[in-house]
Structures are given as C-alpha cells and as structure tokens.
Amino acid sequence: MSLISLTDVHAGYGGMNILNGVEFSLDAGQIGVIVGPNGAGKSTMLKSMFGFLNVTQGRIEFDGHDITNVKPEALSRLGMAFVPQEHNVFRTLSVQENLEMGAYVRRDDWSGLLARVYDIFPPLKEKRNQPAGELSGGQRQMVAVGRALMIEPKLILLDEPTAGLSPMYMSQIFDRILAINATGVTVAMVEQNAKQALGIAHKGYVLASGRNRYTDTGEALLADPEVAKSFLGG
C-alpha cells in the first residue's frame, strides 16, 4: 500500500483549477521527484498534498488517512512535513529556536533528535544561537530541512530544495536528502535540476499543464529520449 497517494486530483486556490486530474503515489521509503516546465503545477501539486489548496475533485490519502482538504496545521501531527521553497525559516528566531518550532507538536523529549539534526548539518550547530535570517541561502535551506526533520516525519515534502544554491551546496543538499531517505523517510520533491534529481528518484513524475505527462522510474525517464528532448533540455 502506498504511503501517499493522489487520485484524480483537481485543485486550485479558489478560482480556476491549476491541477486537472493528477495522479501521484509513493511507497514508504521511496524518493519521488516531480519535474516539468514552469507553470506545470509542480509546486501546486506538492502544496495540494499539504492542504494549501482547495481540492474540488479527487482524493488524497496519507498513511491510511483521507487528508483531502485537511488543513496544513493538522498534518504535522500525522507525520508529514513540508519545506516551502521560499520564506522557509523564521528569520528572527535563532537556528535552535527554528528547530524547536519544528518539534512544536511533540510533547516527548526530542533532545536526542536535535543532536541528530546537528549531526546531519554540522554548520547549524556552530550557528545555533544566530538568527536564521542572517545565514547564507544554503544554510537557511539546512535549517528548513532540519526543522522538518524534528517531527521525525514519515513523509517529507521538499519544494525546490536547491533553488538558488551554488553547485557545491546543491550536491550537499542532494547528499543529505539521500541520507535522510536512507533512514526510512519517504521524500517527495519538486526540482528544477531535473537530471540530478531524477538520478536519485525511485519514481519520477513529469507534469505539464496540471496533468501527468510521463510517470516511470527516475532511471527510465532519464533514458527516455522523448522526455529528454522535451523536458530535460536534450
């Protein structure tokens, strides 16, 4: 049974629908990558999973729960974490406070987990008392992902985690995503750097105009000349 599934989802922000019947599913432990041209509805699809859109038709299920139109604030309690593309840290809060806010819904002792997040992202430990807004883009991304890990999510949604980062940081972030996935966390991400992202994907989704165009393993999509020609820049 899949951990997350979208079945024939039509959704928008109240006006016209942006998603016109998309399908998506990941089994526990997989990495799923969503690629496609600008305006294809990639980020929208991710946001629809986290309750930010109004789903007018179709069904979204997570871990056996129907989460269609469930509000974002309820989803972290189910074990789902979301890292937005922009404005994804609390700028005026310190790095450590950002991570603490990630654990807001937890009432148990999470100090061991905090230490583990610092192990995954060593630069954050040094800067733990600094306001997150003063960090570089790559370090802010680490704070954002670290914050999401604080609920020990079953599924983590990443919206363009490498946008605007230098190639060095980009491969660092990809490495960390693989490491996080290796601990059993399912990852669904939208990526501009389609080739690199599909390279680590168990499942790849190519979207266009709010619909599925190609769905296959990451490897198969990379090998498909059609996909390469139209969506991966040759």
Binding site: L75, F90, R91, M101, Y104, V105
Partner: protein, 328 residues
C-alpha cells in the same frame, strides 16, 4: 541643588511614570499588531474599562475591611488582570475573529476596533456618567519622601508601584518570549504565519496568549494611571496617540522596541513641558539675558503635540522604528 531635585521630581520621575504607562500600552499594541496584523484602536478603552472594573470591585469589597497596607485597587490587580484578559479574548471572539474567519483585510479590522472603541466609551458613560472617580475609595494616597539633605524626592505609592510593576512585566515578558514554548511560537507566528501553520502551531492558542498579555498589561496600565491621575471615561483614550507613537517609534511588532519607545515618548513629552528656567535660575547672574519665568519647549496644554511630532518624524525618516519593525 534644590533645582536639581526639582528636575528629578518633575522631569525624571514624571517621565518614568508616563513612560511606563505608554510602554505597557505599546507592548500590547505591538504584540497584537505582530500576531493579528492590525492596529488595535480600542486598546486605550480596554485600559479604561479595566480601571472601571476595579472601581466596581473596590466598591463591592471596601465594606469587608480588608487591610494589607496597600490600596484595595492594587491588591485587586491580579483579579483585574485576569478579568481584562478574558474580556479582550471575548472582544476578539465577538468582533475580530468572525472577520478574520471571512478573510477580512487588516483595514477592516482596524475599522472594527474603532467601532469597539466607540462602543466601550458609550457603555462606560451609560453606566458611570461622565464624572471623575477616585480609585482609592476615599483613602489618602501614600506619598514617599526621600530625604536628600536638600529638597525631598517625592514619589507617590502608585507611581513607585507602577515603575516596579512595569519593570517586572518587561522581565516576565522577556522570559516568556525567549524561554517558553508558547512564547517562541508567538514570535514564530509574528515572523512567518504561513510557516507557523506548516509546523502545526495552533493559531487560536497564540491569538489567545496575545490577548492575555496585551489585555493584562493594559489592565495594569489603566489601573495605575487611574490611581496616578483621576478615573474618568476618557482616561486612556487620550493617551492612545502617544501609545501608537511609542509602538511605531519602537518598530511595529517589536515588544522591546515598544518598551523603549514608551519611555522615549514619555520622557520627550515630560521634558518638553518642563520649565527649564528652574534649572537655569542659579546661573541667572551670569546669563547674558533675563531669565523668563517659564521656559519650556511646549506649553503644558500642548503636550500631546510632542508624541504627534515624534510620530511624524519617525514615519518620514525611519518608518521601521528603532528596532526595525514592519513597514506597511
């Protein structure tokens, strides 16, 4: 030396007292602005309402002969703190929350709060009329005189308590915002409400906490102000402008800024109406001009112009305020 003590009594203590009132009010306004994104114009009347609630309680309990060495109005302060906090949560439920739920823009909420202001003023006047009341219930105000060898430093008991309570409130607020889970969540919502939703922070809880702090501090300010001057229906409506000036000067959404802004506005106002010729009198012989009897920057009747000028200067030259708050 006598002149210097006169300056301490009028200038320093006067500035500290009114600055404390402004600071307590501005902290509430700035927190509400940070979390709920609107200027709460009814904040002054929440202060007045708290003072009148105290008046009623003092009237009910004065017959019981409670005597702990402090005025009953001050003994009742914790009760009034809680009542006012509940009252503001009630105001939110009745008037602001329904608007938020319908996605109203901030300016609509500002208008609603002006409506609440008019309503509260009307209600207070219906019940209590337009006269003056004495919150001490006929007791005499205790005056502390600190001998200095020259003139005494004079300070009334409510003034001393106000300064102490303000300092304690600011320390407690600081600890709450930096140490507690809920306090950090409040700062998180103020910083980035969408991300706060993502992390599962309950907006309702944060909103209620905001009203408890804002309303409670307004209660302290209202009661202490009524003890310092006289209780009348427009007690705190008149100081709404300086409170907003303090909020904006401190940086909107910045609680420490609001405290600093409160004291800056309070001292500016007090020093602007201070009669500087008193301080210059010892030098009258060496001054090249005759000392006028009254040498103040602004006549006392126009003291409200001082926060107004500060407000305009800040908005023109540094709209983010001292502590870099938001700009709208």
């Amino acid at each position: 030396m006598d002149e210097l003590i006169f300056f301490v009594n009028r200038g320093l203590i006067g500035g500290l007292v009114i600055g404390s009132i402004y600071a307590l009010g501005a902290v509430g306004v700035t927190l509400i602005f940070g979390i709920l994104r609107f200027a709460h114009f009814a904040h002054g009347d929440v202060m007045t309402a708290a003072a009148f609630a105290t008046l009623v309680l003092v009237g009910l309990l004065s017959g019981l002969g409670i005597d702990v060495g402090l005025p009953l109005a001050i003994v009742l302060l914790p009760v009034v703190f809680v009542l006012t906090a509940l009252f503001t949560i009630g105001l939110d439920r009745a008037f602001y929350k329904p608007l938020r739920a319908r996605g109203a823009r901030p300016v609509v909420l500002v208008m609603a709060s002006i409506g609440v202001t008019l309503m509260l003023q009307g209600l207070i006047r219906i019940v209590f009329g337009t006269g003056n009341y004495d919150l001490l219930g006929g007791e005499r105000k205790v005056i502390y005189r600190i001998p200095t060898g020259f003139r005494d430093i004079v300070l009334s008991q409510p003034q001393a308590l106000l300064i102490i309570l303000t300092a304690l409130s600011v320390i407690c607020l600081h600890l709450f915002l930096t140490r507690s889970r809920l306090g950090k969540a409040m700062r998180a919502v103020s910083d980035n409400p969408d991300l706060a939703r993502v992390t599962g922070i309950s907006l309702d809880t944060v909103v209620n906490a905001t009203w408890v702090i804002g309303g409670g501090l307004a209660a302290i300010a209202g009661v202490m102000l009524a003890l310092d001057v006289n209780l009348q229906p427009d007690l705190a409506y008149n100081i709404l402008l300086p409170i907003f000036a303090a909020t904006i000067l401190g940086g909107i959404g910045q609680p420490y800024g609001a405290v600093a802004g409160g004291y800056v506005v309070g001292f500016s106002e007090t020093l602007a109406v201070f009669n500087w010729s008193v301080l210059l009198r010892p030098f009258a012989g060496v001054l090249p001009f005759d000392l006028p009897a009254n040498l103040s920057v602004v006549p006392n009747e126009y003291r409200l112009a001082v926060p107004f000028v500060i407000l305009i200067i800040v908005l023109i030259y540094r709209p983010t305020g001292i502590f870099k708050g938001r700009v709208f």
